[in-house]
Amino acid sequence: MSDSNAALAVSIKRMSKSFGDIEVLRDIDLEVKKGEVVSVLGSSGSGKSTMLRCINWLEVPDRGSIHIAGERIGVNEAAGRKMNNKELATLRAKTGMVFQGFNLWPHLTVIQNVMEAPIYVKGMAKDQARAIAEQLLEKVGMSERKDAYPFTLSGGQKQRVAIARALAMSPEVILFDEPTSALDPERVGEVLQVMKNLSSEGYTMIVVTHEMEFARAVSDQVVFLEKGLIIEKSAPDKFFSNPETERVRKFLELSN
C-alpha cells in the first residue's frame, strides 16, 4: 500500500509493452480518480485494448507499474516477487471488465452469470448473491430475462447482463473494452444508456470506445492513443473543441 495512491482508483506509471519486436505501448502514464470516467480513443491498433488489458493483468506489461486502489498489481512488493495466482485473483476481483464479445458463460442462466463470481470468488452466501444479482439485473433492465440462457439474448441484452456481472463484484473500477462495437446501431443506445447511468451513480470507469458522443457527454478525461503513446489527455470540452495536436484534429474530423 502506498498512501499517495489511495485516492486513485487506478494509477499507471511508465508502462510499456511489446509483442515481439512491435512496441504496442510506450511509457503510458494515467491516473484515474475514484468516481471518474475516462474514455480512451484512438484508431485500431493504437494500443487502446492492450492498455486496458494490462490494468487487470490479462496482458503482462514489460515495464512500469499499475496500482489499483493503491495496491500494485502483478508484483508482491512486500515479498519482492511476482504475485502468485491467488494474489492476482484477489486483486483482479476488485476490477470489473466488460468485453466487446460479451463473454457470458453459456452454461449458466443470466442470473447465474451474475451470481457466479460473488459466490465462488468472494465466498458470498447464495441468497445474498441472488438478492444482489436481482437488484443489478433490475438496474440494467434485464430482470425479466433472468432465467434465460445467454444464447437466447440479443447482443445489447447480453452486454447489459455482462455489465451487471461486473457490477456484482462491487469493483473499484470497471474496464470497458469497446462494449458497443459488436452491436448493431439500434442496440448501441441501450448499452450506452446503462453506462451513462453508472457514471452518474459514481462508478469509476475506463472506457475504450469509438462512441464520440458518449465520450464527450460522460467522460471526465479523454485519452488519445497513437502508436502506443498517449498523445493527448484532456477534459472532453477541450479535447473535442480545441485539441492540442494535429493528429487528434484529423481524427475528430474524420469521425464526424
Partner: protein, 220 residues
C-alpha cells in the same frame, strides 16, 4: 427340456454376471471420468508434468485394451506386483478410458473461445475454480455425444475381462454354454442384456442432448 429352459435353470449365473458387468461398468467409468477430468485440469498448467500426462494419454490410446488387461494381470506378477482379476480389471478399465475421456475433453478445450476464460480471470477466479466452475462444465456439455459413445465402448470393453477370469456377463455366458452345450442361446441372451444396458445409456444421452440444447450448445 428345451435349451431356453436350461437357460432359465442357469439364471443365477447370468444374474451374477449381469451384476458383475454393471458394477464394473458403473464404477470404472465413474472413476475414469474423474481421472480424465483431473488429467485435463493438470494439462492447464502447461508445464513439464503436463507434458508427461500428454504422453501417457497418447501411449494409452495406442494400446489395445486387452493387452493392457493382460499386462496388469499376467505381466505385473513377474515384477512382484500381484492383484486379483477384479482389481486388475478395474484398474485397466479406469486408466484406459480415463485417457480417452481426457483426450475428448482436451480436444474441446483447444477450441474453447479464450474470452470465456478471460472473463472469469477478470472477475477474480483462481485457476482451480476457473476450471471446475467455468471450463469443465462447458467441455462436458459440448462433448456429451462423444462422452456417451465412450461409455458404450467402455461397456463393451468389460467383456474382454472374461479372458483374465473376471466373472462378468460374458464369462457367465461362456460358463453356461460350456456346461450345457447351448452356445447360441447363451450368447444371444447376453447380447440382449448388453443391448438393454446400451438402450439405458442411449436414453441418458438423449436427456443430455436436451440439457445442452436448452443452453444453446450444438453437438461438437
Amino acid at each position: 427340456m428345451t435349451e431356453w429352459t436350461i437357460l432359465w435353470e442357469a439364471r443365477e449365473t447370468f444374474i451374477n454376471g449381469l451384476i458383475g458387468t454393471l458394477v464394473l461398468f458403473v464404477l470404472s467409468t465413474l472413476c475414469a471420468f474423474v481421472l480424465g477430468c483431473l488429467a485435463v485440469y493438470r494439462l492447464e498448467a502447461g508445464d513439464r508434468f503436463s507434458w508427461v500426462i500428454r504422453t501417457l494419454i497418447n501411449l494409452m490410446r495406442t494400446l489395445p485394451f486387452l493387452i493392457l488387461a493382460y499386462l496388469l494381470y499376467y505381466g505385473l506378477p513377474q515384477l512382484g506386483v500381484r492383484m486379483d482379476a477384479w482389481t486388475a480389471g478395474f484398474i485397466s478399465l479406469i486408466i484406459y478410458h480415463a485417457a480417452y475421456f481426457a483426450e475428448i475433453l482436451r480436444g474441446s478445450r483447444l477450441v474453447m473461445p479464450a474470452g470465456l476464460v478471460e472473463a472469469a480471470l477478470a472477475h477474480g477466479f483462481t485457476p482451480g475454480r476457473l476450471f471446475w466452475r467455468i471450463i469443465l462444465p462447458q467441455l462436458v456439455i459440448k462433448t456429451r455425444p462423444l462422452l456417451g459413445n465412450q461409455l458404450i465402448i467402455a461397456l463393451k470393453d468389460t467383456a474382454f475381462l472374461t479372458i483374465i477370469t473376471v466373472q462378468e456377463l460374458t464369462a457367465a455366458a461362456n460358463s453356461a454354454q460350456s456346461t450345457y452345450f447351448i452356445p447360441t442361446q447363451a450368447f444371444v441372451l447376453v447380447i440382449i442384456l448388453y443391448w438393454l444396458i446400451s438402450i439405458c445409456l442411449e436414453l441418458a444421452l438423449k436427456w443430455a442432448g436436451r440439457f445442452g440444447a436448452k443452453r444453446g450448445f450444438d453437438y461438437v
